[in-house]
Amino acid sequence: MKSIANLSMSAMLFIAAACGGGATGPADGGNVKVVATTNIVGDLVRTIGGPQVELEVLMGPGIDPHLYKASAGDVRRMSSAQVIFYSGLHLEGKMSEILERIGERGARTVAVAECVPEEELIESTGFSGLHDPHAWFDVGLWSEAVGCVAETLADLDPEHAVEYRERAEAYAAELVALDDWVRQTVEALAPEQRVLVTAHDAFGYFGRAYDFEVRGLLGVSTTAEAGTSDIQGLADFIVDRQIPAIFVETSVPPRYVQALQEAVRARGIEVKIGGSLYSDSLGDPGTPAGSYAGTVRANVKAIVTALAKPGQMD
């Protein structure tokens, strides 16, 4: 079975390369051809790359990167790109083989989340030796990835190296300001109110950076199936700690959280669904949540509003 998968993947790569042309050196006409896997990474690359990059993002808004399988068209796009930026740390769980292959064939692949120094990453509880990949919700940490992207682009396209670095610096500063804003905003909640219950464990870094206790139903990857014991345990937790709101996510089916809500209701407590958080994806382009900064703001506002006591947020 695996050899058949290997064979067909090689075939796809071969065909895609034949159609797509090589990926060496800066393209004439100035634009660096870049592919980004998730739209979070895409947003970062777009901000730093500016008009000098021709960017294609594989996953649109609302798409779950844990489950995403690359199509033949995606492989074609990746083969004809000069660099592929992906999130890494096995976030794109079903694409790791393809990315490896493409890397072997000489294309440049950069795992953005792996640009963060390892000691700052959170160890994954479920999978030993691996890390929680959802690093972008610690705004401070994410700004360390900025330099990575800039250097890669500068390397590929020395002509515009200066512009990349300038934009990177400006963006890093923006992110520092955003980080401060988040810290200030969450001050509105008392420490015991800062409990975040979501569909899967996407907010570990958020919790660590901004002092939230975080519980996800599905664990670090959405490929797992929640068992009834997980729902029972979490329902008991919610009742114990009198948590006012739980959250669905835009890229994950809401059913599990709804089941959780029903379980809590059966224990006599009404917990409301505090809103839909952007966890593994940004919002729709063209809306305020279409950019990384906009997404972070939207998330934080939703979290704080839902967890606050009535009248607290005036």
């Binding site: 009834t228 029972q232 994950v252």
Partner: protein
């Protein structure tokens, strides 16, 4: 016992029980009509229906998706009939083809749909192996209503379905609308399948259809008990699987239910009285006449036919000796036959076969006749 004190467990167990009952009952008929593979084909064929239902309506409501699944499954059965009728492809190959083509198409659609914004929210991939823990109250209500309707139809048309499964030609000769009854029974099977898709998923659903009936057949001799036992096995597997997966963390519910069911099937095949493998080998060991006992039994049987109205009429050892070759140890053979209950001494100091011995002899005759033809 406080096992069912928990709401979520109660809900999942109830949903699984509904699934077990309907798939067990309706799967029994599929088993008897030798259509077990059809259940497999319909389950797999349901996948593109689920995805298409989402693509066309944008709805994530399970009922809508299940209707899509049902229609695709139903179309799958029609496709099988068309293939069989219009080509030389035999029935089981046609089932395999439809299964593979539809399921493959479903997988293609799943990959394609990834690009749709917010498609991930529909959780369509979870229909592959089920997502029992996320059953909501309204899901279980839907399942229960559909299941009850299917079982009611089964009860109302019980004798017609029984005759259809045993002898469709005779049914037609009585004037029963065999085509339509067949279609209805298949439809009920499709309903049973779509009830289960949320719990055990497309890939495992065929086990829920085939296994309870196969297991139940080993324990029963009439149809009503068989269907009842199959439903009971289904319910038991569903509830036990739910309970187990709720106490052992990270154990997915759907596969656990199927595992419990598999254990029951294996036990049934081995241990059931009369039909079980262990039983049969034990019985054969005791009853099986050694090759040199068979001829003596056959002679007894033949002799007894001369006096069909007088089962106590024995024949002397001497007569049997003359019928046998000189080296045959007739006396010892008769003693051994008596030990095994196949022959007995009669009041007139002769030997006669017992009813069991008669039956055994007839069976040997039938077997030999069957081998010759």
């Amino acid at each position: 016992m406080d096992i069912f004190g928990d709401y979520t467990l109660r809900l999942v167990a109830l949903g699984s029980a509904v699934l077990g009952a309907t798939s067990g009952a309706l799967g029994s008929f599929a088993y008897l009509r030798r259509q077990s593979l059809l259940g497999d084909a319909v389950s797999h064929a349901a996948l593109p229906g689920i995805v298409l239902a989402f693509m066309l309506t944008g709805s994530k409501v399970p009922l809508v998706l299940m209707l899509g699944a049902g229609m695709a499954g139903w179309i799958g059965t029609l496709a099988v009939q068309v293939v069989v009728r219009r080509s030389r492809v035999p029935y089981d190959s046609a089932l395999g083809i439809v299964l593979a083509v539809f399921f493959g198409f479903g997988l293609v659609l799943l990959t394609h749909i990834q690009k749709f914004p917010n498609a991930a929210q529909a959780g369509l991939e979870s229909f592959l192996f089920g997502q029992a823990a996320s059953l909501l109250r309204r899901d279980v209500v839907t399942m229960a209503v559909l299941g009850a309707a299917a079982l009611l139809a089964l009860v109302l048309l019980w004798k017609e379905f029984k005759l259809l499964s045993f002898d469709p030609d005779f049914a037609a000769s009585l004037g029963l609308p065999v085509r339509r009854l067949d279609g209805l029974l298949t439809l009920l099977l499709v309903v049973a399948i779509i009830i289960g898709l949320q719990t055990v998923g497309v890939v495992l659903m065929s086990a829920m259809i085939v296994a309870p009936g196969a297991a139940a057949r080993q324990w029963t001799r009439r149809l009503a008990p068989m269907v009842a036992v199959a439903a009971a096995i289904g319910i038991f597997s569903g509830v036990t699987g739910s309970v187990l997966s709720s106490y052992i963390p990270r154990l997915p519910t759907g596969p656990t239910i199927v595992l419990v069911l598999s254990v029951i099937v294996v036990v049934s095949l081995l241990m059931a009285p009369q039909r079980g493998l262990l039983w049969r080998s034990l019985r054969l060991g005791v009853l099986r006449t050694a090759p040199d006992l068979d001829p003596v039994l056959m002679h007894l049987y033949a002799l007894s036919h001369q006096h069909p109205d007088d089962p106590d009429h024995g024949h002397s050892v001497a007569v049997i000796r003359t019928m046998s070759p000189p080296e045959a140890k007739v006396d010892a053979a008769l003693e051994q036959l008596a030990d095994r209950g196949l022959a007995r001494r009669t009041a007139d100091a002769g030997w006669a076969p017992t009813p069991i011995g008669r039956r055994e002899a007839q069976r040997i005759l039938d077997r030999e006749a069957g081998e010759e033809s």
